[in-house]
Amino acid sequence: MVDWIKSLSRVLYVDLTRKLFWVEEREDLFSKWLGGIGVAVQLYKEEVSRHADPLSPENTIIFSIGPFTGVFPMASKVVAVFKSPLNGFIAESHAGGRAAAVMRFAGYGSIVIKGASDRPIYLVIDEEKVRFRDAGALWGMRSSETVGKVLREALPAAGYRTIMRIGRAGERLVRYANVTVETYRHFGRMGLGAVFGSKKLKALVVIGRKGFKLPDVRTYREVYKEIYELTKGVATKKYHDLGTAANVSPLNAIRALPTRNFSSGSFEGAKNISGENLAEKHLSRRVACLACPVACIHLAAIREEYEDEKYFYKTENVPYDYELIYSLGSNLGIDDSYGLLKVIKSVEDAGLDAISTGVVLAWATEALERGLISPKETIVVLKWGDWRSYVKAVDYIVKQPNEFYRSLALGVEHAASKYGGLDFALDYNKVEPAGYHTGPLFHASLAIGARHSHLDAGAYSMDEKLVSSGGTPPPPEEAARLIIEEESWRQVLNSLVLCLFARGVYSKQLVEKALKALGYTIDSAKLTELAQAIYLEKHAIKFLEGFDPEKTRIPKRITETPTPLGHITENYLKAIIAYYAKLIKEYISRSTPPEFSQ
């Protein structure tokens, strides 16, 4: 047991300002908080002061993996924790690809990136050292795909490495810029790309080729086999077949597919951009993250003839998922699958978060329609469904040629505060929502979730269950408890660190069993306790950073457009928020750890 935790407990610190690195053994953290988000929250407390500016050298990026990483199927994610440049609070983002297992086999449980470089650099981290490399030639490159291509060819250890990089959006500090991992996976939300950009960190390459001796091979193999069979089974079939895009048709059928800036829950063009149609017309390959049999990554190939020359073609590859189809498809009124993929491609090349970009552009389209802004601001005329102008607008968000696009680059709330139209500016605490207009529980979970994300508690599925059973939303207190309980349990999954698509596979009993196989002595009661502790710690930090949930603006639009569970009332959401605020404030008042009071 001790050895296993020890092998995970090495934390690599990299100081970009002084170009230094060192390793610390942090068994204290990994034995108490498992790993992943549990450990990252504690490291954040140590490293980031309450009032630090997210885009200053004082912000610190923490990557963490957990005891299951590289060990059990579908433990394929890395957690990144940092202060979000969108809202200035603690933020968390997860990515798959090869990053997680590679970090484990490089021998690090966490990587902490401090300070800021004075010039563009990229880091190459392996089992022994960190190299600080000049990124002058990569900075400003048009497509983040090209950056990957260059690094792939320049660096050794193909197959044993991860290549994370930002696009131009991150360099230019668009607040919702992302970090791309292995070309098609992302630390998508909360603006990690802008934090990379502010640190002049263009890319991060990790190489890992180690192996670790298991404490009890026989038990491990039994548990492994059990998990492997489950992850191949029905619990994940949907993600394998059509991928998350499978959600488009059912959500549209219950009128929960956000359309044209959430003005409707059903989209007449849904069939064209459905998972079925995309698979039949465009799907070229399915790929997996390391250690995942599901292979949910769906890549489309789009063939295009050059305008200037007949029979001169190119084929580009574009990843698609449900959230992108909503935000850049139905939410922009795009019903042409080819056009949708072109918009996704432009967002990918720029290195932007697809959800935020789609919501920002939807607001701009409606604001233009209502005359709050004019084509003088938007430069291109944004019209629902006109994908060509959206491709251009994506480029303007990155280039920011005028005041209007400079505002758009700061997020929808910022732009709407300036130009008007807050009633139809969709965000919770400056984080644009994912695509489920399923009912009040989902929107409540966005308001009270740590990162205002659909991933915090997955409350859309609570709504969906009510829709299919014909039930009605529970009273606010009970709803709040349900959401908080789900979000708490996910803290354990995110400490192990698992892909949330495996949440149906990894029951509490199975997690306990798998931990035991690695020598951990932790029972399910302790796991529940730990889940709550991490939840409270994380939310307490956010409160101490100045977050006041009761000041959260509830976008009027979501109360106007009916959900499958009827109209959402502001009072219902406010009651849930009040319950949540009381819970966290009580926690803070009964236990103010010294680290918080800096």
């Binding site: 590289g70 060990v71 199927p73 297992a101 484990r104 086999f105 990957g148 291509k149 792939r152 193909a158 197959g159 044993y160 292995e182 070309t183 098609y184 890992g208 080729r209 180690k210 192996g211 670790f212 001796k213 298991l214 091979v217 193999r221 492994y224 492997y228 191949k232 070229s284 390959r285 399915r286 790929v287 997996a288 993250c289 390391l290 250690a291 995942c292 049999p293 292979a295 990554i297 890549l299 190939a301 590859n317």
Partner: protein, 164 residues
């Protein structure tokens, strides 16, 4: 041609005091088999075969795997799956200066780790790069065509094939 044979799985040395014997479907009485890549285009790059291979020795990770999976220049082009082809006249064995690699009936080689001096000639001699290198023991990792990986390939990329 069916070759009747009784074989015992090779014994691997983990440390001076610990030995490890693989139990996998290909051992025991049966026909000689070899590992083949049925269709690399079915590969999704999950690497579960690589982890299974390393796990033969009671490890997790990639360090002791005789299989390598890497993208064929970006994952959109698919993957290159490198496995030992079980050559009839293996260059690796010819390159070994100390006869640590002996011919395996049915193709490929068997490693005697006690003889191996870790020179790495076998790895450079293999044109398809299927002799992997264990950086920890500084010895080659040789595929025994045991088929443990096959049982963990979710998409039918790998198979055991009877040697004709």
């Amino acid at each position: 041609m069916k070759i009747e044979t009784v074989r015992k799985a090779p014994l691997y040395k983990i440390s001076n005091t610990r030995y490890f014997r693989i139990s996998a479907p290909n051992y025991g009485v049966g026909y000689l088999k070899r590992l083949v890549v049925v269709d690399a285009n079915r590969c999704v790059g999950c690497n579960l075969c690589v982890y299974a291979c390393t796990n033969r020795f009671g490890f997790v990770g990639v360090s002791k795997s005789a299989i390598a999976v890497r993208s064929a220049g970006g994952v959109e082009r698919g993957f290159t799956v490198v496995v030992c082809r079980a050559c009839e006249d293996p260059p690796c064995a010819r390159a070994c200066p100390v006869e640590a690699l002996t011919l395996r009936s049915g193709g490929g080689v068997t490693l005697n780790p006690n003889k191996c001096i870790g020179c790495g000639f076998c790895a450079s001699a293999c044109d398809i790069g299927a002799v992997m290198w264990d950086q920890e023991s500084m010895k080659p990792v040789i595929c025994t065509h045991c088929g443990f990986c096959v049982s963990f390939c979710p998409h039918g990329v790998l198979a055991l094939e009877e040697v004709a």
